[in-house]
Structures are given as C-alpha cells and as structure tokens.
C-alpha cells in the first residue's frame, strides 16, 4: 500500500453510508438466517402445493448468491486497483443475477419449479 498524503496524516474516511455499511451487513445475515427455515420448509412440503414458497426460496437463493459473489468482487477486484476489470466484473455479476432471477421465475412458472427439481434427485 502506498500511503496517500503526508506520513503523519490520518487516512481519510469516505462519507458515511449505512446502506453500504451496517444495513448491508444486517440484510446479508438476515437473508442467510432466513434461508435455513425456508430450505427446511421447502424440503418437507411439495412444490405444487406451495408455489409461493418455491418462488420466495428461488428469489432468496439468487439474492444471497449475488451478495456473496459481490463481496468477493469487492475483496479481490476493487476498482481502485482494477479500474477496468473491477467494474466489468461487477456489472457482469449484476447481469448474471438478473438473468438467473428471470430464469428461476420462468422455471418456477412454466416448468416444475426449484423444489420439485431438487426432489427429483431422490426419485428412482
């Protein structure tokens, strides 16, 4: 790290933004916690009887995965060190998330749905 400013100056902080700070952190953890009962509930019921549960589970999984990958991009491909590759990766991730969300919605609506898909693993 090459220090910015004088050697005896404190480093500067960006303007505070809870949406990037504590709200983001709380949302990430709440979603992770909520996925536990959601997955359990989807596991014990059938998809055809609970399409809304299926939809909520699909959406939660997509958002949870996006947040996880986004943290990795911020860690390893931050724009300050990767001025081109960083933003490209971030936007690629966002596009991929939207595409996945659309795909999951289509799959749940017009096809068997996520829960049924996983359940098929156990059928003979």
């Amino acid at each position: 790290a090459i220090p910015q400013g004088g050697v005896n100056d404190a480093i500067a902080f960006p303007p505070p933004s809870p949406s990037h700070g504590s709200y983001h952190w709380v949302f990430e953890r709440s979603l992770s916690a909520a996925l536990v009962p959601l997955t359990a509930a989807a596991f014990v019921t059938s998809a055809s009887a609970n399409p809304i549960l299926d939809g909520v589970l699909g959406l939660s999984l997509v958002v949870h995965s996006h947040l996880g990958f986004d943290q990795a991009v911020v860690d390893y491909l931050h724009p300050r060190k990767f001025p081109l590759l960083g933003p490209i990766t971030t936007w690629t991730l966002r596009a991929a998330t939207v595409a996945t969300a659309v795909g999951v919605f289509q799959f749940n609506t017009n096809d068997i749905g996520l829960t049924e898909l996983i359940a098929k693993v156990w059928t003979a």
């Binding site: 790290a1 090459i2 220090p3 910015q4 400013g5 050697v7 005896n8 100056d9 404190a10 480093i11 500067a12 902080f13 960006p14 303007p15 505070p16 933004s17 809870p18 990037h20 700070g21 504590s22 983001h24 952190w25 709380v26 943290q71 911020v74 860690d75 390893y76 931050h78 300050r80």
Partner: protein, 260 residues
C-alpha cells in the same frame, strides 16, 4: 532422586568432580530474508546462518542479535525492550507472525528456522517493514478520549465494571502482527483498517468515559473500513499478547447493527 545423586557425587573420584562440564555443541540453521535497498536490483533472498544454540539465549531475538554481533553486522531488524512489550521485533517466524523476543527457538538442530519480515508489507531493509500506513490508520480512528461533558472538577469517574470492559483491549502494543496476518488487509490495505486499528477503535467506543461513540461508529459506515473483515480469525490466532481483535471487531459489528 536428587538426594541419591548428591550422595553419589560426594563419593565420586576427585578428577571427575573438579572437571567443568562442557556444553555440547547444538548447531541450528537460520534462513533469514535479506534485501538491501542500496542494491535494489538484487532480488530478496534467504541467507543461511548456523549458530550454536548452547551459546545463545533461548529466543529468536537472541539468535538474531548473536548473528548480528558475531557473523553479519549488516543484518537489520527492529528491537528494543526484549521482553514483549514494545512491539518492535514483530516478524514472521516459521510462518507465524509473532515477536522475536517472545518466540522460543525450536531446539531441534535437524530443522532449520525461517525468519521473514511481516507479510505483504513494503520492506525498508531485511526484516524492517514500512509501517507508515499502519500508523496513519491508527491515527485515523482518533485514539484519544472525547467527552462532551467533562467533570467540573477532578477526573472522569468510572466504575470497576466499566473499567473491566477495557481489559483485553488496552494491552495492545501495536506490533502489527495481527493486521499483517489478515488476508483482507493484504489485499485491501489502502482502505481496510485492519484488526489492530479496529480493536483500538472499539477500545474507545467501549470506554464509558467517551461520549463520541456514535461518531466513531459513523466513520466505519462504508463497505471498506471495517466490513472487509470476514471473520478469518488469523488476527486472534497470531496475537503474541494473547488478545482477541476478532472479538472486538465482532462487538463493533453488533453495536453498529443494533444501535445505528
């Protein structure tokens, strides 16, 4: 057991009693990272030194001083108190960040000991890292008491329970072992404060005499200064003073999540 030995010693023949016992030679190899800024094009390399452990003090710092005194005066490292309180001799010994003055030499002469400077830091020379950024980060958390209602006369009073909350926080000697063991700090040193500065930030947030806790926490409300911590826990594992920066960071996260 000792009584029997003593009795047999008085019965031993005169010539063996008067001979002083020689210490056997126990050679150990130390491979030490060297780099000279006066010859910057020469790549950093490991230089090998073999010393007799039975003529050296027990700690790695004793070995380094012996090498510098007797074999290679150009070997450069920071040191001061030699008792684990100043934090100067922080370095990476056999893969662990610790203080050289507190790290015992492994007395297995068959194995070599590798001494590197603190990881992922710019090096001034040999084992001396550039800690400028580390100190700037410490200064940025404003490590002094900020109170908007000082007592009319005398000192800020504090109960015994409130003072206990600072135990495990104030003892930090700012050696930088923890921050330089954190992968998040390696990749994002510019903007992530690191466990040392964050633990001190919590030391002031948790101090009952300080009234600026809200501003202290506001400064951390961004995605880099504190939230690059992913509870990797290398910091607490490596702290040579046995402190727990990871727990302090967790407490800040909890306070920011519940009171902001």
């Amino acid at each position: 057991m000792q009584a029997i030995a003593r009795r047999s010693a008085t019965r031993a023949p005169a010539f063996s009693r008067s001979m002083a016992t020689q210490k056997p030679v126990l050679m150990k190899e130390f491979k030490i990272y060297r780099w000279n800024p006066d010859q910057p094009d020469e790549k950093p390399h490991l230089q090998s030194y073999k010393i007799d452990l039975n003529q050296t003090g027990p700690m790695i710092l004793d070995a380094l001083i012996k090498i510098k005194n007797e074999m290679d005066p150009t070997l450069t490292f920071r040191r001061s108190c030699r008792e684990g309180i100043c934090g100067s001799c922080a370095m990476n010994i056999d893969g662990q960040n610790t203080l050289a003055c507190l790290c015992r030499i492994d007395r297995d002469g068959g194995k070599d000991s590798k001494v590197y400077p603190l990881p992922h830091m710019y090096i001034v020379k040999d084992l001396v890292p550039d800690l400028t950024q580390f100190y700037k980060q410490y200064k940025s958390i404003q490590p002094w008491l900020q109170s908007n209602n000082p007592p009319a006369q005398g000192e800020h009073l504090q109960s015994v329970e409130d003072r206990k909350k600072l135990d495990g926080l104030y003892e930090c000697i700012l050696c930088a072992c923890c921050s330089t063991s954190c992968p998040s700090y390696w990749w994002n040193q510019d903007e992530y404060l690191g466990p040392a500065a964050l633990m001190q930030a919590y030391r002031w947030i948790a101090d009952s005499r300080d009234t600026n806790g809200h501003e202290r926490k506001e400064r951390l409300q961004n995605d880099m200064s504190m939230y690059r911590c992913h509870t990797i826990f290398n910091c607490s594992r490596t702290c040579p003073k046995g402190l727990n920066p990871a727990a302090a960071i967790a407490k800040i996260k909890l306070e920011m999540a519940t009171t902001a």
